[in-house]
């Protein structure tokens, strides 16, 4: 009988999917004529199947929603992080007020909602004239606070600032809402 010891290593490599093609052919020839090695192979495959079954039947626990927060909180309390710039610090504070992190997207989403709803309340209301085109709030505010006709440049600047702020908030909303499902690439690479 051929060297069963050598074949055993081939079996292990086969199980781990690292056996080369030539060695694979040698193993398959050997298996056809060696009952011992066949049984070895079967036992190891059965063992692997058992572990797969066990993994499925008894899945490991997963991190709960507040896990990341509690890790960061413990480190923060120990002064492990670099101090954040003032503005970022405030954003962070508002942000972490909405913990656990799965609902943290609410903070920026809430802010955006306010920005979107605020203008509605400031729309010009001429009850008798429903067909009138409504004027966006910025122009409206300018009209109310400024007796002089609106300066188009000033409005543009204001709008620009507003849209920048919206973009900024959008980014943070996106960033926060996506971060908890951010398990990319690495899982596929196993």
């Amino acid at each position: 009988m051929m060297d069963c010891g050598k074949m055993e290593n081939f079996i292990f490599e086969f199980i781990d999917q690292s056996l080369g093609r030539r060695d694979g052919e040698m193993l398959s020839v050997h298996l056809r004529q060696c009952r011992d090695c066949q049984m070895k192979m079967e036992d190891l495959l059965r063992f692997r199947a058992s572990i797969k079954f066990h993994k499925a039947m008894e899945p490991s626990p997963v991190a709960d929603e507040s896990f990341t927060f509690s890790v960061l909180d413990r480190l923060s309390k120990q002064g492990a992080f670099a101090p954040q710039p003032a503005v970022a610090g405030w954003i962070e504070k508002i942000h972490s007020a909405f913990t656990p992190y799965r609902v943290r997207w609410l903070a920026p989403a809430f802010a955006i909602m306010i920005f979107l709803l605020l203008p509605l309340s400031l729309f010009e209301k001429n009850g008798s004239n429903q067909g009138e085109v409504r004027v966006p709030s910025v122009v409206n505010i300018a009209k109310q606070t400024n007796p002089i006709p609106v300066q188009p440049v000033a409005v543009q600047q204001k709008l620009k600032k507003q849209s920048e702020l919206d973009e900024y908030l959008m980014f943070h909303a996106q960033n926060a809402s996506q971060s908890h499902i951010g398990y990319p690439v690495i899982y596929a690479s196993y």
Binding site: F47, S60, A88, G182
Partner: protein, 193 residues
């Protein structure tokens, strides 16, 4: 991370930011790996009640020692290294506490604990369940050095190279330990399967 979503940023970039004390970068790394760390800790300690606390220790120790991370291995194998150390360290302390209770009757105990053929199980399903319990018990009986490679290989589906990084041993040693572990497992499982 102040620019970019963070979830697509490579580990090494996040690690460099962490080395400067960046909290958001570390948040991304924790979220990226927390479930994997829970998983490997659970396979090591087999106790749901302690996994969360141990996982916290893993990440806290990781951040505190991140200055020493040179990038010679990948971040996640380094993190696994801390997790394995934490898990086995916990086990060795737990063993001291419970040695007199279990001694070496683990295998028999586990086998007796498997649900009996009450009729609800299909014969095949029951067999598979029984075999799985026996396999788990057999891993439990292995010396720690073998158990580590088996857990990383069979539960975490790691390559030899990754296991070598996690355990900080040569690839040849991974292979030989794994093979010896399998021979032993097979010997232990022989009467059962």
């Amino acid at each position: 991370m102040d620019e970019g979503g963070g979830e697509n940023v490579a580990d090494d970039v996040l690690v460099r930011l962490c080395q400067k004390g960046d909290k958001n970068a570390f948040e991304h790394l924790v979220m990226r790996y927390q479930d994997k760390i829970f998983s490997v800790l659970y396979r090591v300690v087999k106790d749901r009640d302690v996994v969360r606390d141990l996982a916290q220790d893993v990440f806290i120790n990781a951040f505190k020692s991140i200055q020493g991370f040179q990038g010679k291995s990948s971040f996640y194998t380094w993190l696994y290294q801390i997790a394995m150390h934490t898990g086995f360290n916990y086990l060795s302390l737990a063993r001291v506490r419970t040695t007199t209770v279990y001694e070496n009757g683990d295998l028999e105990k586990k086998l007796m604990d498997t649900p009996g053929g009450s009729g609800n199980w299909l014969e095949e399903g029951y067999m598979l369940h029984e075999t799985a319990q026996a396999a788990v018990a057999a891993i439990e009986e292995l010396p720690d050095e073998y158990k580590k490679v088996v857990i990383l290989k069979e539960y975490e589906d790691m390559s030899y190279e990754e296991i070598a990084e996690v355990l900080n041993i040569p690839i040849g040693t991974v292979r030989s330990r794994l093979n010896r572990a399998r021979k032993e497992l097979r010997r232990n499982l022989k009467p059962l399967v």
